[in-house]
């Protein structure tokens, strides 16, 4: 029986090999290895983010079959999906939860790369594309949040786009571009829908392809501690099948977590947005924007003759830019030296994000 199976497998492989040179790919995968050390666990989060992106694409396509991106029908169509479509509630809940988990995975992946110094030469472009992927992931979240056209999303979008309007010089046109006018209306919904299902996925796929190609081309980055070990002490895990199986194991756990979250904590729809009603109490953006939102709430109306919000936008803008171009200003690491400042900055950013996110949750 086993012999029969092996024979059949062999036949299939040779059929594929004849056409697609599978054996070459297998050989390549067998040769690929991943460093095995204390911090190997962080290598899996890129894959987790990838899995969640795939979940997003599949569940998003399913939602697209029923969703209507207009002011009159958006809320009703989401309600229809949640109540009338078979497993619609599950698809919607999975889409919402996996979006959040994906942003979390991307954040963890980014910080692990930052602390393991995976951004340094020759992987600068991998870092930049990765940073772009994080930005698009957050933009996905921001645009998707409005699509159910519920009260909370409506006003959170209003607040969020107001902040965009504070950007010097380009703020006003950018605000109009995002909103499709001066205020959040049905035009904003149509626009966000377009961004969410066409523009962002397009950019994301390009960046993701580049990101993955670069990783394949350059291999996985090795941290200094590992790189400086004598060759005999350098442990590796074969990429295929060992690392792939480990990744698969983690993916299965993530899928289990996702299913439990989707079933036990289904995403609420709330009440339909009414542009003429006053903003409800306790408007909050998605958790990954919460730290920024909270900082803006703490800012005074005026700082050194400048509007507080403008100062906030400028500071955040500079901070994000510095973070994005870390391969440019971090000369020490590039030369193979330790850069403690870099580590302290990273720790500060994490503490900053965690503290202000918690404050955002607990303070009204």
């Amino acid at each position: 029986m086993e012999e029969k199976n092996t024979k059949a497998k062999g036949k299939l492989l040779s059929w594929l090999d004849e056409r697609y040179d599978i054996s070459g790919l297998i050989e390549f995968a067998k040769k690929k290895s991943v460093p095995k050390f204390r911090e190997t666990i962080w290598y899996y989060f890129g894959g987790v983010a990838l899995l969640l992106f795939v979940v997003q694409v599949i569940s998003g396509i399913l939602l697209l079959m029923y969703y209507k991106g207009t002011e009159d029908l958006a809320y009703e169509s989401v309600k229809f999906i949640s109540t009338k479509v078979s497993f619609g509630w599950l698809i919607r809940s999975v889409h919402s939860w996996s979006a959040n988990l994906m942003v979390l995975a991307v954040f963890i992946h980014m910080f692990s790369v930052y602390f393991l110094k995976g951004f340094r030469k020759p992987r600068e472009l991998t870092w930049y594309t990765g940073f772009g992927l994080l930005a698009i992931s957050m933009a996905f979240g921001f645009s998707g949040y409005l699509l159910p056209w519920n009260e909370l999303a409506f006003f959170a979008t209003k607040v969020g786009t107001d902040i965009v309007g504070q950007v010097p010089l380009i703020g006003e046109p950018l605000l109009k571009l995002l909103r499709g006018g001066t205020d959040v209306t049905g035009a904003t919904l149509s626009r966000f829908f377009g961004f969410h299902v066409a523009i962002f996925p397009g950019i994301f796929i390009i960046l993701l392809t580049l990101h993955l190609l670069m990783i394949q081309r350059q291999g996985i980055a090795e941290p200094d501690d590992y790189k400086n070990l004598p060759p005999a002490e350098k442990k590796t895990i074969p990429f295929f099948p060992n690392f792939a199986m480990r990744e698969l194991l983690i993916w299965l756990i993530v899928i289990n977590i996702l299913a439990i979250l989707a079933v036990f904590f289904p995403w609420e729809l709330g009440t339909k947005a009414d542009p003429f009603s006053s903003a409800p109490v306790g408007i909050k953006p998605e958790w990954y924007f919460l730290f920024m939102f909270q900082v803006f709430k703490f800012l005074p109306g005026e700082i050194l003759f400048l509007p507080g919000e403008l100062v906030g936008v400028l500071l955040f803008g500079i901070g994000v830019l510095l973070w994005a171009i870390v391969p440019v200003w971090d000369k020490k690491t590039a030369k193979g030296n330790k850069n403690r400042l870099l580590t302290y900055v990273g720790i500060f950013v994490i503490i900053f994000i965690i503290v202000f996110t918690i404050l955002g949750f607990i303070l009204d």
Binding site: K79, T83, P238, N242, M245, L249, N256, A259, V263, F264
Partner: protein, 488 residues
């Protein structure tokens, strides 16, 4: 003889003294003297005027010097003579004294001094279309030169006369169309058909007339909330007389109408909730032609608002029976002034159901059975509705969306309201058809609720299965990986 002479002398002296004192002021009034000599009608009338009796001369209103018999002096402008006061502001002549408490006391009068204040804000004091002063001023109603005390039956504003006085303008289409063409002009003729009007015609000053309800000086448009006859003010206006036991005793009518009305569903709606569509006294009794509705017209009166109930009742078997027994239709079950909110307890075979007033197991049995069935139907629907709400609530608590089903239950309330109207047909089949609509809605909503709860458990069972399968895969993969890594 001596005593008799003394008596005559004393009497003569008294008469002389009295005549002297009475004519002292009037003798000084050269205006009236002269004008009487001229056979002036105004002067003749003024001799009967209440003001003349109080010692007020012509000059009191016209100005001038009443003590001078020289016409040039008496009627000179220097002495303040104004001639005939202008139509525009003639009221000011009256106001001069009637707002001044001290002046009024000086002439021995204790009548109120707020008439002008009240008149100023009344609808009558608005200017005429050609700006010739107020539409109605003091003279318009009280007249001039022959003004009488309001309690004097000869007064133009005496209760038995005031109706014609008001009617002199309000019954004139020619006059009224200048100011309010939409206002009816049949108030007086209607009034004459009312109980109040009949009594008034017979000379009863206590019977309500125009001023009793509309007020005298402070008259406002009916739609003005300050008006005494504004919907929310009417019950208290009527109760001024109708709750006065002493006054009503001679008419032999009860005085509890107001006390009952304020507790009734109509009274609470109008007076507490400010619902102006709720009937006040005049909506059932009429206003100018106020009479208690006859037994035969009660359903028509109630039917002006409760149209469907009236129509259904008139086609019902009760109509004939009530007519035969001369029962007051709606009133038989709902009462009159104390109409309580109609609850479902009014139907059935046990008190407080009103059906048992006529129907029992022994008497009028068919109606008794129908009443029992109707009660069962309406109670069953309410119970089903309540149970369904609990099921939907449970589903909602479990995080399931049952908003559509919950919303559909609002229609059950509508069905119940409609059935409470349909009940007036006293037709079991009609009533059942109505209630069945409610049962259909409830059963659909109940099914949705039950399905939602089942779905809730189905989701968890499904999750359990998938979690177990994925967990088994994880375990299998883990062991496979361990084996693989051990080998390598």
């Amino acid at each position: 003889m001596k005593i008799k002479l003394i008596n005559i002398s004393v009497s003569a002296l008294l008469v002389i003294l009295l005549s002297f004192s009475l004519t002292k002021a009037q003798a000084a009034d050269q205006c009236i003297k002269c004008h009487l000599d001229l056979d002036d009608n105004h002067a003749k009338l003024f001799k009967t005027d209440v003001h003349f009796s109080k010692g007020i001369s012509c000059a009191g209103c016209h100005g001038g010097d009443a003590t001078s018999d020289d016409m040039d002096i008496a009627m000179s402008k220097e002495k303040g003579f104004i001639g005939v006061p202008s139509r525009v502001n003639r009221y000011e002549v009256c106001v001069n004294c009637h707002v001044d408490e001290n002046k009024m006391k000086r002439y021995g009068s204790n009548i109120p001094t707020d008439q002008y204040e009240n008149l100023k804000i009344s609808i009558h004091f608005q200017p005429t279309f050609n700006n010739e002063g107020p539409i109605a001023d003091c003279v318009t109603c009280h007249s001039v030169h022959d003004i009488k005390d309001v309690k004097d039956p000869a007064s133009k504003v005496y209760p038995t006369k005031i109706v014609e006085l008001c009617g002199s303008c309000h019954s004139s289409a020619e006059f009224m169309k200048q100011y309010n063409p939409g206002l009816p002009i049949d108030q007086v003729s209607k009034y004459r058909t009312s109980v109040h009007g009949h009594l008034n015609s017979k000379g009863d000053p206590n019977a309500a007339e125009c001023a009793s309800c509309h007020g005298s000086h402070e008259i406002f448009a009916v739609k003005d909330s300050r008006s005494l006859v504004y919907a929310t003010n009417i019950p208290s206006v009527c109760s001024k007389c109708h709750s006065d036991a002493k006054l009503m005793a001679k008419y032999k009518i009860p005085t509890n109408q107001y006390a009952n009305y304020v507790k009734s569903v109509h009274g609470v709606a109008l007076l507490e909730k400010g619902d102006l569509s709720s009937p006040s006294c005049n909506d059932c009794h009429g206003n100018h032609g106020a009479v208690p509705p006859g037994v035969e017209s009660i359903s028509k009166v109630c039917g002006t608002c409760h149209v469907l109930n009236m129509e259904l009742f008139e086609e019902s078997p009760h109509k004939k029976a009530f007519d035969e027994h001369n029962y007051p239709e709606c009133e038989s079950c709902h009462g009159n002034h104390l109409v309580e909110p109609a609850t479902d307890a009014m139907v059935g075979t046990q008190k407080p159901a009103v059906c048992v007033n006529c129907h029992s197991n022994e008497k009028n049995t068919k109606g008794f059975i129908v009443a029992g069935k109707m009660k069962t139907l309406i109670d069953s629907l309410k119970t089903e509705d309540s149970e369904t709400k609990s099921i939907l609530n449970e589903a909602s608590q479990k995080g399931m969306d049952v908003s559509d089903a919950t919303f559909s239950l609002k229609d059950v309330r509508q069905v119940l309201i409609q059935s409470r109207t349909t009940i007036h047909a006293f037709d079991l089949d009609k009533f059942k058809a109505q209630i069945d609509d409610g049962f259909n809605i409830v059963s659909k909503a109940k099914l949705s609720g039950e399905e939602a709860i089942d779905d809730y458990y189905y989701r968890r069972i499904g999750l359990g299965f998938s979690t177990v399968i994925v967990t088994l895969l994880v375990i299998g993969l883990y062991f496979k990986l361990r084996k693989l890594e051990k080998k390598s």
